[in-house]
């Protein structure tokens, strides 16, 4: 039963298999145990997981911080919403939409793909322009990108209903659908980081000068990761729209950017394990803070934290992690292989001991 080949395959895929198992288990337990409210929180968490993993795909491997991924989420969400919401409503409210979108209603998966695709195209154009900038300047540019998307989408009334909402998007995304996409996201991220592109990108992250000297086309490799990441984030956005049923522009701005970044930072910005565990942990923290904000009855009075404590609490936690454990709770490592075998790879900590 345990043929060496199968064992080797499992071992090679262990980092993603283990995470998939954990997340599926968590989902199953939560659905079985909880009511509707849990399902809502769970679905939102899994959608965020898709987005955070996609963001990690770029940030973790390239070492370049991006503040703009939620902009791609917005693009994907609106694109998918345009595809699936009611044509009659669109013709009335979104007069600027092209005919093929305005007059038709498309199936869910096609819409999701379209959302990802539009995000990827925008990423290609924007990325080609800014990828040659130094890491710091590029990060600033991504921040500006977030602001541009917010500004454009808030003002382009004929296409996005501006500061009011797009409504009537079929709410077909529940926890199982979200789980499926989160798992897909996990696999894509893992395949990427093990691929030749992941390898080259990681080299450019570790030492840019040496990477160039080692025949790596840094610009090309970064762009590929940026576009792939944007595609998946756009997919996450599409899911989000089909979960909420309603879209407004302002949900895709600072707040969501901060939450998703904090998930990466708390978990560990440099590994898939970090991304996934960060989502789980921060969701838990936010739930706890939310409960404290709602308050507890002690005696006859309600004791509660003031509104806004959630955000401040998360900010403080982020700062603490950055100060004391900048590589995140997982130290940016993948899930360790639990069994020791003869050719077990020693961890970096073990190897740091003076040997011969």
């Amino acid at each position: 039963m345990n043929s060496p080949l199968v064992m080797r395959q499992i071992r090679e895929w262990w980092p993603v298999l283990s995470l998939a198992a954990i997340v599926t288990l968590v989902t199953a337990i939560a659905i079985w145990m909880g009511g509707d409210e849990i399902k809502v929180t769970l679905t939102e968490m899994l959608i965020r997981m898709t987005v955070v993993i996609a963001t990690y795909l770029f940030i973790g491997n390239s070492g370049i911080l991006s503040f703009g991924h939620i902009g791609f989420m917005c693009i994907g969400a609106y694109a998918a919403g345009w595809a699936t919401c009611n044509p009659a409503w669109k013709q009335l409210m979104l007069t600027g939409l092209p005919a093929f979108l305005q007059e038709n209603e498309y199936p869910f998966l096609l819409a999701v793909g379209g959302g990802g695709l539009l995000a990827a195209i925008v990423a290609l154009i924007f990325g080609a322009a800014v990828i040659r900038l130094s890491g710091i300047a590029a990060s600033i540019a991504t921040f500006a990108f977030l602001a541009i998307v917010n500004s454009v989408y808030s003002n382009w009334d004929s296409v996005t209903a501006g500061t009011s909402s797009i409504i009537g998007i079929p709410q077909v995304v529940g926890p199982w659908e979200a789980l499926a996409f989160a798992l897909v996201s996990m696999v894509v991220a893992y395949v990427f980081q093990q691929s030749r592109y992941g390898l080259m990108l990681k080299a450019s992250r570790d030492d840019e000068v040496a990477a160039k000297a080692s025949a790596i086309d840094i610009v090309k490799v970064r762009l590929i990761a940026f576009v792939a990441s944007a595609f998946l984030v756009g997919v996450g956005g599409a899911l989000y729209g089909h979960f909420l049923g309603v879209l407004t522009v302002d949900i895709f701005y600072m707040g969501l950017t901060f939450v998703t970044l904090s998930m990466l930072v708390v978990g560990g910005i440099g590994s898939l394990f970090g991304a996934v565990s960060g989502v789980l942990i921060v969701t838990l923290i936010v739930q706890v803070l939310r409960a404290f904000e709602a308050g507890f009855k002690i005696g006859g009075a309600t004791v509660a934290l003031p509104q806004g404590s959630q955000e401040i609490g998360l900010g403080v936690i982020m700062a603490l992690i950055l100060l004391f454990r900048p590589s995140g709770l997982t130290k940016s490592r993948e899930v360790p292989w639990p069994f020791t075998t003869r050719d077990a790879r020693p961890t970096a900590a073990e190897q740091a001991q003076p040997a011969e």
């Binding site: 691929s195 030749r196 390898l199 080259m200 990681k202 080299a203 992250r205 570790d206 030492d207 000068v209 040496a210 990477a211 160039k212 000297a213 080692s214 025949a215 790596i216 086309d217 440099g270 790879r345 020693p346 970096a348 190897q351 740091a352």
Partner: protein, 237 residues
């Protein structure tokens, strides 16, 4: 042939290199020595495309390299190691070398096979799966050498490969370096402070001091050269 012709490099009015010329072939180990601050690193940065000379020319195979960026030097067959090592610290030893192959267009499998061969030759195959950031200093140098040779270069610059090595390790290194021109058809430009290694392995040596050439010749000639001795000992010629 890799040639520097009347190269001058100035930084903010300070002359780091003044009128240096040298030429080396693919069949030899060419040493570059001089006291600290002599301009060796600046000169090799010019020869490998990381520094543009303020005046003078760098010629590769007779071809002008004016306006070339470092990628073009690399593509034309110049490889190098770095004094600071600059390994990819979070990646394993074999991945460090493999990634160069991948960058050149090989599949991961092909690149890995070639990388293992090189690591074997350099004598560090046993640590292939070790994370590069945890290596001792001397092992870092070997990996750097393998990584540079993976490019299949026509000329490779080795920047102080013997730093920190014991005598036994130096002997080992000398065997490797001496063999490079023969095995890889690759000329070696060697910056080194360790005179034992330099005199033992170089075919010709070029001596810099204060940014200027003070001597060039075989190891025997250089060892007897009074200007060189004075430069190192600070006495008078």
């Amino acid at each position: 042939m890799l040639t520097a012709e009347d190269v001058v490099v100035q930084f903010d009015g300070l002359t780091a290199i003044g009128n240096v010329s040298l030429s080396m072939g693919r069949h030899e180990v060419f040493g570059l020595i001089g006291p600290n601050g002599a301009g060796k690193t600046t000169l090799v940065n010019c020869l490998t495309g990381f520094q543009v000379p303020s005046s003078g020319r760098i010629l590769l195979g007779g071809e002008e390299t004016a306006g070339w960026k470092s990628e073009r030097f690399r593509k034309a067959g110049i490889g190098r190691t770095f004094q600071a090592g600059r390994l990819f610290r979070e990646m394993t030893v074999v991945e460090n070398v493999e990634v160069t192959g991948v960058g050149l267009g090989l599949t991961r499998r092909q690149a890995r096979a070639q990388a293992m061969d090189l690591l074997e030759w350099v004598g560090i195959a046993g640590k292939a799966e070790t994370v590069a950031g945890t290596l001792p200093y001397t092992d870092e140098r070997r990996v750097g050498m393998a990584r540079a040779l993976m490019l299949g270069p026509a000329f490779v610059l080795l920047d102080e490969p013997a730093a920190g090595m014991s005598d036994a390790e130096c002997d080992d290194l000398m065997h490797l370096v001496a063999a490079i021109p023969r095995i890889f058809t690759c000329g070696v430009l060697l910056i080194e402070h360790n005179m034992r290694v330099v005199m033992g392995v170089c075919d010709r040596i070029h001596v810099l001091d204060g940014g200027r050439t003070i001597a060039e010749g075989t190891p025997q000639e250089i060892q007897r050269n009074e200007t060189v001795i004075a430069a190192y000992l600070g006495g008078e010629a």
